[in-house]
Symmetry: C2
Subunit: 207 residues, 2 copies
DNA sequence: GACTTTCCTTGACACTTGTCAAGCAGACCG
DNA sequence: CGGTCTGCTTGACAAGTGTCAAGGAAAGTC
């Protein structure tokens, strides 16, 4: 991100507006990740940033617009996380190892963001207005997982037994369980997750 | 705390106090299932019941005590849901069919309760005070799933390839995905779930 | 009957929330 | 220099929140 915000930048004035929005989204995401959707107020977001609560309302019409903007902003940041692993792996086992390691890394370093994601996804079951954004991200994640699995199958010279949806559901279940444990302080969740993924993926290939 | 005073004196077999608490929990659960944890206030719970908002505070010290009581009350109601299926099945295929059918039934008839469960479980990642109750239920659900899977393996004369935790994580992932779709209006999620479960369980048995 | 305990209603409190309007500082433009 | 526009601060508003206390109603006890 371009942190050299001051003056020098002869770029379009339009960008400045968007840049502020992104800064606010960044702040908001940090707060949301820490407190969760329910307990996060606009004032709290402002307090934990360098802005006042009026600014938030200046850049976003209402709370909902801010949240949805954040969700989309977040998605753009995380959706290609496993692409390198897929591209770099030369064998099926290598891919599996890389994928599991990346999952661990995600769990360790992005726990707050991911519990927020699960929070928002769950909220979308109650708040219809969140549904569209959530569905979109969910589909993107599903495709991300599918890229991993189908490449894994390819490297193994075999075929997946499941479709993209089931594959995503299964892995997401394991990850969510691990996240729950990890957030609760169970460090072993990292290893458990890796083991489970190493166990699962081979099962998803037709013999 | 000591609000139950000296319950010893009259030794009424059925404590009227507890009965009211259960009625309130029932009302609260209905409201929570509809609105979600974040948007449910004590007054809203009272409004949607035959009680006034003061009564809630008379029977529960604070909001948190009510929520936790509800969570436990809910658990007691749903945790033996698959026991009949396990007991009645004579073959592995029969068990699989019965289990999938019961999952569908759960999805169809208890969607509100389950989205509430996922809501609370996610909240527990932010609110430590919810964690104990949630962990307890999660373990109970894991055991429930394990009873199904291990009996399934037994009937098939084979061994499960996963432990209880992984099995629960996988199935929970599929169920949650189906719930998300179903709540959003996708009726096909019922069939999809059944198909996925029919596909998954055989994979979980050692060849 | 009167008295006590239990149950519930009502209204209030202190506080937080989203929202918005009035106004101010500074840049930009003539 | 004055004027205008953008970005931001501040303070206010109404609505909603959890909590609680004072007191009435009902039921049970003597």
């Amino acid at each position: 991100m371009a942190t050299s915000t001051t003056t020098r930048d002869r770029a379009r004035p339009v960008d400045k507006h968007d840049e502020r929005r992104n800064q606010l989204a960044e702040s908001a995401l940090a707060t949301l990740g820490e407190l969760g959707y329910a307990r996060t107020s606009l004032r709290e977001i402002a307090n934990r940033s360098d802005f006042t609560h009026g600014v938030v309302h200046y850049y976003f019409r209402d709370k909902f617009e801010l949240i949805v903007y954040c969700v989309r902003y977040y998605k753009a940041r995380c959706v290609r996380r496993y692409d390198d692993v897929v591209a770099d792996a030369g064998t099926a086992d290598e891919l599996l190892d890389g994928f599991a390691a990346k999952l661990q890394e995600t769990l360790r370093e992005e726990a707050a963001m991911h519990r927020l994601w699960y929070d928002l996804r769950t909220q979308s079951m109650f708040e219809e207005s969140l549904r569209e954004a959530v569905t979109m991200i969910d589909r993107t994640l599903e495709e991300m997982i599918w890229r991993v699995l189908s490449r894994y199958a390819e490297l193994a010279g075999r075929e997946p037994v499941t479709g993209p949806a089931a594959a995503y559901g299964l892995l997401d279940g394991l990850f969510q369980q691990a996240l729950l444990g990890y957030v609760a302080g169970d460090e072993a969740a990292l290893e458990t997750l890796s083991g489970q993924v190493h166990g699962l993926l081979p099962l998803l290939l037709r013999p």
